[in-house]
């Protein structure tokens, strides 16, 4: 049983890439994280959603957070750029250190944090009243008093190129963002997030509303972006996590219905040689 399981997983993991060489993996394990999550718990009103999460997110790597529905994956990722407190009744305890400084410290403005840690949501959400150009420019336009047109044009083109959308939309930048297909809309949202030049990008199930082709495009995009950015992705799709991520975290709901971090480590290890029985049960499809 054991051997068969790991063969399947091995297959799943080894489909891709050379990026996960042994040295690379060792490099990841040794490095200090750009984001350090320390004893993080989060509530919605009186409901505890996640508790006592500790993890260290590596710089310029893709970290995947997997787990069954309702285990608090999205809550965790929303805590990383202070979006959790936007939800009704959202409250957080513990720290998240960005470059060693707690983003929940009193003197820290969440607006500044969100500037450095961008986010893309599950449902593609281009601003419907804005053109494609304005969507990408929105982050800059709405944080300054005014911007020079050529500067915006630069930023928009760079963002769209990084999101691998430029060739598809360069002739229709004035069309509404909602005229694009679902996959294009999601890449538009990624371009919009990239345009404000964040250091870290959070992706909250970015492909769950997309078809396999669009999904593949976004995964390719992530592999390209990780050369310059740190990426954290929440996904309920284990194959996706295995395909794209360098590090993987498995979360599960505890008996008190609060999400906990069960296992966190290199993707190759988590999928082929899980340390925790629950991780193994989940990735072999015995539940969830």
């Amino acid at each position: 049983m054991e051997g068969k399981t790991s063969a399947i997983i091995q297959n799943m993991v080894s489909n891709d890439n050379e990026h996960r060489t042994e040295e690379g993996a060792a490099h990841l394990e040794g490095e200090k994280g750009i984001l350090e999550v320390q004893n993080l718990s989060a509530w919605y009103g009186n409901t505890l959603a996640i508790k006592h999460i500790d993890m260290s997110i590596k710089s310029r790597a893709i970290t995947a957070i997997i787990g069954p529905s309702g285990c608090g994956k999205s809550t965790l990722i929303r805590c990383l750029n202070r979006m959790h407190e936007v939800s009704h009744g959202g409250r957080v305890e513990g720290c998240v250190l960005l470059d060693g400084k707690d983003i929940y410290a009193r003197d820290v403005d969440p607006v500044v944090i969100r500037r450095r840690i961008g986010m893309v949501f599950q449902k593609p959400a281009p601003f419907p009243t804005m053109s494609i150009f304005d969507n990408v420019a929105a982050g800059l336009r709405l944080t300054r008093l005014w911007s020079r047109r050529w500067e915006l044009e630069d930023v928009v083109e760079r963002g769209l190129r990084q999101a691998a959308l430029w060739d598809e939309v360069k002739d229709k930048l004035n069309l509404s963002g909602s005229s694009l297909s679902g996959g294009q809309q999601q890449r538009l949202c990624i371009a919009r997030a990239l345009a404000v030049a964040p250091e870290i990008i959070l992706l909250d199930e970015p492909c769950s509303a997309l078809d396999p082709v669009a999904t593949l495009k976004i995964e390719e995009l992530m592999r390209n972006l990780v050369k310059e950015y740190t990426i954290i992705i929440v996904t309920h799709n284990m194959q996706q996590a295995a395909r794209v991520s360098d590090m993987a975290a498995f979360m599960m709901m505890g008996e008190d219905r609060a999400g906990t971090l069960v296992e966190y480590g290199l993707t190759s290890q988590l999928f082929t040689n899980p340390k925790d029985k629950r991780t193994e049960d989940y990735i072999t499809g015995r539940f969830g």
Binding site: N81, M83, V86, V111, V112, I113, R114, R115, R116, G118, M119, V120, F121, K123, A125, F127, P128, T129, M130, A138, G139, R141, L142, T143, C189, R192, A193, V196
Partner: protein
Amino acid sequence: MSEIGYLRRKWLNRIMSALSSAAAGLAILVLALILGYTLAHGIAFLNLDFLTRAAGPVGEAGGGMRNEIFGTLILITLASILALPIGLMAGISMAEFASPKMAYAVRFVADILAGVPSIVVGVFAYAIVVRPMHSYSALSAGVALAIIMVPVVARTAEESLRLVPNSMREAALALGITRSRAVIGVIMPGAMTGIITGIMLAIARIAGETAPLIFTALGSQFGFQGLTKPIGALPLQIFRYASSPYPDWQQQAWAGAFLLILLVLGISILVRRLSNRRQS
């Protein structure tokens, strides 16, 4: 299932359908009668003279309501200038910034304010503007109409803003945009048709108000003479002319009534088209 029970239910169903259709028909009939009656009486006197000439003295044929039409437009503008900032800000605050408790309280107060009889609003404006200034004035009428406008604008603005999906707010905030910039740059544009609809409904509402003007604008035959002087308005003039003994004035009152209905109807149709566009 017994046959009698079935028949009884079938006939009950038919009777109820017929009754509700009749009720709907009656409502439309009343509107059609009002429109038809004012049209029949008013259209003959609604001519260029009526629109472009000032009211003449009693006994002299001709004359129109130019000054009053102009007065109504001035009062609408004045009330809008006073009410729109307050109403819109209140709506934005309820939808975007206030705590749920605070929003509930403001909404409750706005609903009560919307239900205050307009004559009471007129008396209130008389007490706080006319008395201290020792004069009936266009300004006091603007204040009275603005008080009527504020809750309508605030509630419709709030509701339109709430219709903007939360994902837009989160997407904007996640870009590192401040809350107020997100409201101005992303959420307000999304709610704009609804907000404009609300503003026009409020204008339609105050365009026909007469009671609050009695204590404030008073009426004047000389058109606009400054914010602190009395001013004429279409509904006031209709009231004055309709209750006068002179046939010529009564005819003009009909024409004025018809014009007022056209104005309100025009705004309603515009609102309809706007909100249809929002849905599609």
